[in-house]
């Protein structure tokens, strides 16, 4: 900070804030997608097994 009270520089903080945001948002979106697809696959297997049991 200069003697005028104006903050100088600080791009490293800006980059860090946007990088953290990107990592968390992308990471969370990917995690939901992976969990959703895994659950769908599990549910499908369960339904197939149930159908085989009935047949």
């Amino acid at each position: 900070m200069s003697g005028t009270g104006v903050i100088e520089g600080g791009w490293e903080f800006v980059v860090a804030a946007y990088a953290v945001s990107a990592i968390i948002l992308i990471g969370y979106a990917v995690s939901i997608n992976i969990r959703y697809r895994a659950e769908r696959a599990r549910r499908k297997r369960e339904a197939e097994r149930a159908a085989e049991g009935i047949a």
Partner: protein, 247 residues
């Protein structure tokens, strides 16, 4: 109300959820490019102020997600429809994720402007309480196996925890806070409006896309717990005062 207590059904394709999330991501890229490259420096905070273009929209949408969770909790308790329990779980998880991100962004902004990474001022403290309260409810959901108890307890807990959300919002007005007051179009120069608004809509669309997809995941899990093809009997939650109460 007749089919309100039936196990939830995953309707339609998840294409709308993916489209919302994709649109949100595109808007976020555009708004962030504008905020980082095109918007002017702020007079006192300089370039550090550019963090606001992502921090403020994250804060708005975190509170919106938790407000939606509050609405879902109320709807579940009043109607007993499992889809509201799935939505509650989704909205709380997305709200907590955005709130944690909000704290990290705020901390990174606080260091060059306040000189500290964290301070126990009213806004930050109430935000921390909000994050811990809703994280605790998500933890509670993982430890309760009975879907009816899990849904009722977490709905009640979400309503209680939500009391803190308006306190977070008004904390800067009610107490002498280090955190700045809410900005309004009258207090923000027009040069800063567009990146802020674009990112706000970006996170909004992304948030609803993620809530929608996460609710589908919760619905699939509820289907396994509540209905066929699982051999378990169908569990029911019947709201107090509902007709046909067989308990």
């Amino acid at each position: 109300m007749a089919d309100a207590k039936a196990p939830p059904v995953e309707r339609g394709a998840p294409a709308i959820a993916y489209a919302l999330a994709g649109l949100g991501a595109l808007l976020l890229l555009w708004g962030s490019y504008w905020g980082l490259m095109l918007a002017p420096k702020e007079a006192y905070m300089g370039d550090v102020q550019r963090i606001m273009y992502i921090h403020v929209p994250t804060a708005w949408n975190a509170m919106l997600a938790l407000t939606f969770a509050f609405g879902c909790a109320l709807a579940f308790l009043l109607r007993g429809d499992w889809k509201w329990d799935a939505r509650l779980e989704a909205a709380m998880e997305v709200g907590v994720t955005l709130s944690l991100l909000l704290c990290m962004q705020g901390s990174i902004w606080a260091k060059p402007t306040w000189g500290v990474w964290w301070d126990w001022d009213p806004r930050l403290t109430t935000t921390a309480v909000m994050v811990f309260a809703f994280s605790g409810i998500l933890a509670l959901r993982r430890f309760v196996d009975d879907p009816v108890k899990r849904a009722v307890w977490s709905s009640v807990a979400a309503i209680v925890a939500y009391v803190d959300v308006p306190i977070v919002y008004f904390s800067v007005k009610w107490w002498n806070s280090l955190h700045q007051m809410q900005s309004t179009p009258q207090t923000v120069s027009s040069a800063f409006h567009w990146p802020l608004r674009i990112n706000a809509f970006g996170i909004l669309f992304l948030m609803f896309g993620l809530i929608s997809l996460r609710a589908r995941l919760a619905t699939l899990r509820l289907q396994s717990e509540l209905g066929p093809p699982s051999p378990k009997p169908v569990a029911q939650y019947v709201p107090a005062g509902a007709t046909g109460d067989t308990r």
